[in-house]
Amino acid sequence: MNNLGDFVVIIVLLMNLMMLSSSRIRTCIRIVAGQGILIGCMPLLNDFHLILPGMVISASLSIILKGFVFPWLLFRAVQEANIKKEVEPVGGYPLSLLIGVMIFALSFWLSTRLVYTKPLVSHLAAPVSFATFFTGAFIIVSRMKAITQVIGYLLLENGIYLFGAAFLSEQSLLVELAILLDIFVAVFVMGIAIFHISREFDHIDTQKLSELKDSIISKQDI
């Protein structure tokens, strides 16, 4: 347990709440990027003798990707697709914040039921990583635009990374690297897809995509 770890984890938690309350897409991208850098540093906050060279490489890779490459791709998508600056939440910001707090409470409760076999970077790491994960999922569900779903996806990934980093085992970092690669491809593809959707349909509202669904079979067909 060290105080620096606690400090970083608490900042990550506050960033989640900030994310839920911010109305601008650019701010959201910046928040998720900053969170990515902070979480990327997590494995390096351990005792010096525990740090392996592999961990440094994977951490720096994730910092570069999440802190710089993804934001750049997303900013570019925002710019090229002429996305309006608002986030468009379903329930409104106060409700989002309230749910964010509830998510944190739930995560705390969940983490008390975990059995730890190893000392953690911070005793807050597990609940905050759950909270980040669920906040990401909540953002995917509650925001209308396709680009905010990418951001939610990134937040979700941050949560997974934090969990792995907190437990500090090399295997989990390997898994993490694989996930990172997935996310990279996903952001890349979604960036392109968003651009094309907006060019074809003049909007990237996922609700309107539901018009593409199968029509419900009418009674006469039976």
Binding site: V90, L110, R113, F134, I140, V141, Q207, S210, K219, I222
Partner: protein, 657 residues
Amino acid sequence: MQIVFYSLTILIVSGLLALCLNRFFKPANFIGALGAISGCIVGLISLFIVYNNPASAVLTIPWTVPYGSLSLAMDNLGILFLFLIFIVSALSALYGMESLRCYSGKKNIGSLWLFFNLLIASMVFIVLARNAILFLLAWEMMAISSFFLVVFAGEKKAVAKAGLIYLIATHIGTLFLLVMFGLLGNSSGSFDFSSWKIAPSGFMPSIIFLCALIGFGTKSGFMPMHIWLPETYPAAPNNVAAVLSGVMSKTGIYGLIRILTFLGMPCSWWGYLLIAMGIISGILGILFALAQHDLKRLLAYSSIENIGIISIGMGVGILGMSTHNPVLMVLGFSGSLLHVINHAFFKALLFLGAGAVLDKTQTMEMDVLGGLFKKMPITGISFLIGAAAICGLPPLNGFISEFLIYLAAFKGILGAGSIVFVSLGIIAALALIGAVAVACFTKVFGIIFLGQPRSVLSLEARDPGILMRISMLILAFCCFFIGLAAPFMVNGFAVIIAEVSGTQMMIEYTLAEVIQPLRYIVSGSLLLYGFILLLVFIRWLLLRGRRIESALTWDCGYAKPSPKMQYTASSFAQPIVNFFKGILRTKKHASKINEYFPDSFGFKTETADLFSEKVFNPMLKSVHDLTEKLTWVQHGQLQIYILYILFTLLALFIWKL
């Protein structure tokens, strides 16, 4: 045994080749049909070899599929069914080579031949398979390839609907088979048939039997599970319908008999259940057949009737097994097996005959046909033979198998207890079925082939080409031949019945007793043939040197008789249909006459399927209504779907932590 693989290879390769040549109609048609025929001939050769050298009948090849093993075997029961599959399929292919020419330029004939050959191959695999996984694979193959054959003319709405009904029905059947094989495998720890010889104890055999009855019964068309049949057979191309009805439905019977061999001593109520289902299928099947106007639909209902007769025979056999009554067992099983053979031949013949009529007149509506006997004599004669055989009239094959079941029932009356009443029921039911069958096929033959043409459609009809005629004539000859060769064939059943019942219990002795009356019947048949020949000779003698001209029959002095005044299909069947109107629920549509001199008047009867209307449609409707209340779950909003995933994840998380 390996030779059977050559046959399967020929079938599959020629099918694929036909598919590759899809763009060229004639070569594709030729290669597909030739492959099917030669594959079947090679298969018949392999049957002959295995029959003479039973040691070569088993083949096991390791297979990487979990729980599966490529173990194949050919016993006498299998040889009987394979024989039918090869002969009927080969003749249908020969017929199809010519009859399918009507699709030239309209359809991808290559796909039809691919699925036709795959259907034959999968049926062969079903009979050979000695492993549950392999069996189910082949079963599913058969279901899918036959589905594609049924929807071959899928641009018509009725055909597409028939295909859908068939697909659903066959998969419901497969579901029960899965359960059945699961139970069998679970109680023995292996999915190989060879390890199932020990009978499972308790009420397990009964559950397995019920699953088999529903699963295989759906494929065969036992009465409550038959609803796909009257839709599917009319939709399929003619030669395909012959294979579907002639042999594919028999794979269900095969499966049922095969499963019986694993269940040890059967309970007597299985026999009673089979007899009851057989009686219901037989009586209702033939009654609904009588009320139809579409020839192929009528034949489909008559298939249900014949499956009913087969089922009665099997029920009697099982009853004999469970009550240790060898006479009942031998008579029941041999009657039902012989009827399987007979039905394969005469139903295929009738479907091919119907196909020839359809090919030349473009309609299956009986009321617009008529007088075809003069125009297509070969088709007419072979159809007549098939119709006489299916009614169970004496000199032909149908009589022998029904006679065996009658004989079983009469022997049963001499027994004691409930068997007496059941036997009385069987005799009454068979008598009713036979009588209505005669009425039904008199109607078919009379309306279509006799009288005057009712429309221009039947004016220009003529006999089809040589290939179609040959395949029909061969099948007609088979009906004759079995009628005469029955004593020898029934003798051959001794081995099969011993295989099925697992005992030698006086089988030879009982069969010898049965064969004696059969010999009398055959001599009687020969006398009858002689008498018929004599009549033909006398007719020739009388007509010699006289002029033959056609004239009107006496028409009660009516001034302007027209072909429309003949008996129609509805009017011919009306007395019997009226008598059973409580069951048939025939709807009559007549236009009202308001004036004294009306220009036109229309009258139509329509008989919908009882079980479709009263059982399945209401059931499906209630399921539909129920599921419609859940459509709010499927709203198509991405976010909410993700929410579902999230909640599931959360619930699992909370549950596991």
